[in-house]
Amino acid sequence: MKTKTMKTKLIYSVIIIMMMLTTNSCIKDNFDFNKWDREVQYDASFALPAAWGDLAFIDFIELYDSTGLLIENQDGYVSLQYKTYVNSDTVQSIIYLNDQETSGTVASPVFNFAGFDDFGDTISYVYTQNMVFTMFNPEAEIDSILLKTGILDVATNSTYGHSARLYITFPTVTKNGVPFSKTFTYVTGGGYANSLNNDFSGYKVDMTQTATGFNEIPVNIRLTLYYSGSSVPNTGNLTFDADMKGMRYSMMHGYFGLNTLFFESDTIDINLFRNDDWEIERYEFRDPKFNVYYWNSYGIPSQFYFTHLVANSALDDMDYNIIDYGVGLPVGESNPFDVSYATVAGQTKLDSLKLNKTNSNIVDVVNKRPKWIQFKAKATTNPAGNNHNNFVTEDSEIAVEVVMELPLWGYIYNFNMRDTMEIDVDDLFNEYNPITRALLRIDIKNGFPIEIFGQIYFVDQYYNVLDSIFYTYQERLLSAAEVDGNGRVLDFSRKVTKIEYDKERLEKLRGCKYMIYGGQANTTGANVNEVVKIYSDYRIIFDVGFEVDLEIGGNIDTITNEL
């Protein structure tokens, strides 16, 4: 009995030990990653925002403000503007100052040497000569010049045996009321005496003090001889030469004569009709305008006229003249425009000429889809003849701005564009692409009276369509905002577009080589010629987000290697 009990205890002990060992082994396995089957499975779905915007049309206006492409016009809605700004040659190249020169000789016969025979005796000769200015225009009669820059060189030579002194004075060339004057001294036996690079900056030149009364200034000459001895002959002469060089004026008054200011040929590109990336089937601009603005800071009566003003049509590539119905569009020399001119220095006069649908053929021209407008122009001064009230300043100019304004009041029907882009979709077909579904969500609140149809086609190398982004008409459409009777938007039109790609749909893109994308836009009611107005406070609000389903499944080592 006792043996049996011992045996039983032994068996139980062995069983318990075996169980403990087995249990221990099992526990270890629970923490042994070598026992892991290496299989992973990860499924997650994320929805995230990508981008958003709340863009008012005014933002675009501000963006293009520097180029003036879009403006808020005086009626409160928006205009497309195409313009160019040209000015004539600079005033200093039309009305300028030439280098001027005057010279003279004082010979001994002009002196009376009687009593000139003792040391301390002096004799003088004084006279005035006029320095005549050669002007930019033979007709010009200049009264005064305020010099900005200029230098005067005076060269003299005395052959008198006696010592001498020469005084040259320009009594009407003054600075702060002091005339310009130079003195030259000669020793016994004579010699050269020069004064170079005398600065004339800031000097006022009065040209009205001679008998002629313009284009001249008097020069006072005084030569004094000092007795130098009985052996010194009373013969000889003195020559002088005065050169005014490099003169530029700050201001000039007088009569400037008839001058012609040329405006080089210029072109306004009208990209709306010129751009090859899009086409427009039909459109109307209710109130196109063609404006010419003049800025004149010349103090000279002037006339302006176009010598060439045409619009080139994108329809037939023909040139069409822009003509007015008697409001004075200055085309041709015989039909100039009297430009207002400054009456005081520093003033700039603005003048303008405006063509619209009632006084010109601008509507017809716009309907011809003008790709560009080209013009050449001239301006002439003093058409009425002599007038000494002319003035110019150093920066006087006549400038012209030509503006083609297309107020966004009207309609556009079938504005369309299309383009092709090469794409590579190979990565989408990676075996371990973890994306099983992707959805792009575009939420647009359209505050513009414009409906848009968009589409993207995926095609193979032979341009066979493999798939398109949208399948239905409704998917393609972004409705226009509703408008009231005046063509003003009443409320937003909202559209939520979802573009979803799952694995099955993605398979359609296999072999895709190109993406052809295009769109079409119409203003509200354009099909029945309903007109709308685009105001600067129109807005478009959008949110773009995406959903993506991720799935990673399989052996982690394989996935790691393949990724």
């Binding site: 070598n34 997650a44 863009l55």
Partner: protein, 490 residues
């Protein structure tokens, strides 16, 4: 380098060691430590002495308490054997099961205590105790939604129009020393009451307080709304440099580094000096209380209740409070009418700045207060036989917005004058497989005890939500058998 090694050692000690769970100990009246969870317990010795500071007795074994608790999952909920498989690679990662086991807030908590000294003296009608204990509490809290977001994405919640709530996210680490003086006495023949007052000396703390941290995905436009109301508090021997460099409101860079000067100052007197400085820090004072009461309903039935760790610590050593409060609606990149690349870059910078300012933590260096995770115990004892008592114990604990509960049923027996044994089953940490035991054995004046609330979890750690052990040795004198009124059945 040495400085960092010392710091790492500190960190290591902390990582080994964090509310006190004593489901089996609660009814072990022969172990003086049961007064830690119910100060009204009547201990049958006239004198107790124990703790690490007591030579030899204090080290055989060292008086240690360790508790790991996870309220939601165990290892096999992540990695387990595939059913009906015997292959070499028979184990699998099981994310669906893991997700299924997660709770709203998932707390992984640790609590470690070293008793430095304890003393219990029986007076006329009173039992006085004095205890000095080194306590470490640490843990991490992970909200369900953080796993939901990472493993399932944000779409499932988006479709339900509910936010991902990460406010449960948090870390907590506290090292403090507890000096407790307690007493229990009979109020009358039926009621015994007890209390312990504890002066707490905080030594190190890092804790988070996320009142709000959520991300809501709008199902309409997928925009993300993030809301934060977060605080991170730290009181450590060293402190951090936190500098934000910005120009004209734009963030340039952010520095977050350990302040070298504080490290140098801490290590100025060498490693031993640093340890001494750390261990003798009395700047962070706190106060705590334990209360308990026992009611003898009749000779066979007792009821008891206690509240433990009701208290706080005021942290004043290098206090740093990182506070973030904001709300941000992210709709993606804002598309504007950019005139040039600079404008576009400016938009991106604005986005980064706004994001940063939303989550930006402001640093405030003022003291702060942390509360201890208090526990309440309510239970009863049925003395079926002098040697066989049945007990039931309910425990509740407030921990980081979560009320944790457990229920323990026990069989207790003071088998002999020198040996007592206790067997418990607990429904704790949302797990019903906790079988615990306690054993107390006395040999002369030496009284050993070893207790666990879940020895089954020690055998099968892969299924452990709770690992719990308490052991130690007390010197005991003057055993007086407490007569059981159920002795009539003996």
């Amino acid at each position: 380098m040495k400085k960092y090694i010392i710091l790492l050692i500190f960190a290591g000690v902390f990582s080994m060691t964090q509310a006190q769970q004593a489901l089996t100990l609660y009814n072990m009246d022969r172990v003086m430590q049961s007064q830690f969870v119910n100060p009204s317990i009547d201990v049958p010795y006239k004198l107790h002495i124990g703790g690490l500071l007591i030579p030899i007795v204090g080290q055989l074994p060292p008086p240690l308490y360790f508790n790991y608790a996870n309220n939601s999952f165990y290892w096999n909920h992540i990695y387990h054997k595939k059913p009906n498989t015997v292959a070499d690679t028979a184990y699998m990662l099981d994310i669906p099961l893991f997700m299924n086991r997660l709770h709203k807030n998932n707390h992984l908590r640790f609590d470690t205590q070293f008793e430095l000294f304890n003393l219990g003296i029986k007076l006329e009608n009173m039992f006085i105790t004095v205890a000095l204990t080194e306590r470490f509490k640490y843990g991490v809290s992970l909200p369900y939604d953080i796993f939901e977001f990472a493993l399932n994405g944000n779409m499932p919640y988006m479709l339900e129009s509910k936010p991902h709530d990460f406010s449960g996210l948090g870390v907590n680490f506290t090292h403090f020393r507890e000096f407790a003086v307690g007493g229990s006495m009979k109020a009358n023949d039926d009621i015994t009451v007890g209390a312990r007052m504890k002066i707490l000396f905080g030594l190190a703390n890092v804790t988070t307080d996320f009142k709000d941290f959520s991300i809501y995905t709008d199902p309409e436009d997928y925009s993300l709304t993030a809301v934060t109301d977060m605080k991170i508090h730290a009181s450590l021997p060293i402190y951090f440099d936190y500098l934000i460099h910005s120009t004209d409101g734009h963030l340039d860079s952010l520095d977050f580094n350990i302040n070298e000067l504080s490290v140098d100052a801490f290590m100025a007197d060498g490693e031993f000096g640093a340890i001494t400085k750390y261990m003798t820090n009395f700047k962070n004072i706190g106060l705590g209380f334990d209360f308990g009461a026992t009611y003898k309903f009749n000779p066979e039935i007792e009821f008891f209740a206690s509240v433990t760790d009701f208290g706080f610590i005021s942290w004043n050593t290098n206090p740093q409070n990182f506070i973030s409060k904001g709300e941000y609606d992210f709709r993606g990149i804002q598309v504007e009418v950019w005139q040039n690349e600079d404008d576009m870059n400016e938009t991106m910078e604005k986005l980064v700045d706004t994001l940063f300012n939303t989550f930006k933590f402001e640093l405030i260096e003022t003291g702060y207060v942390t509360w201890l995770p208090s526990s309440i115990y309510v239970g009863g004892k049925y003395k079926f036989h002098e040697l066989l008592h049945f007990t039931a114990l309910y425990r509740g604990e407030f921990y980081r917005k979560t009320y944790m509960q457990s229920l323990t049923l026990g069989v207790n027996s003071n088998l002999t004058n020198f040996l007592s044994a206790h067997l418990t089953w607990s429904l704790a940490n949302n797990y019903a497989g906790n079988v615990g035991f306690g054993l107390s054995a006395r040999m002369g004046f030496m009284s050993w005890y070893v207790i666990t609330d879940s020895f089954t979890n020690m055998i099968w750690p892969q299924k452990a939500k709770n690992v719990n052990i308490r052991m130690g040795c007390n010197m005991v004198f003057g055993y007086k058998k407490i007569k059981s009124n159920a002795s009539l059945r003996s």
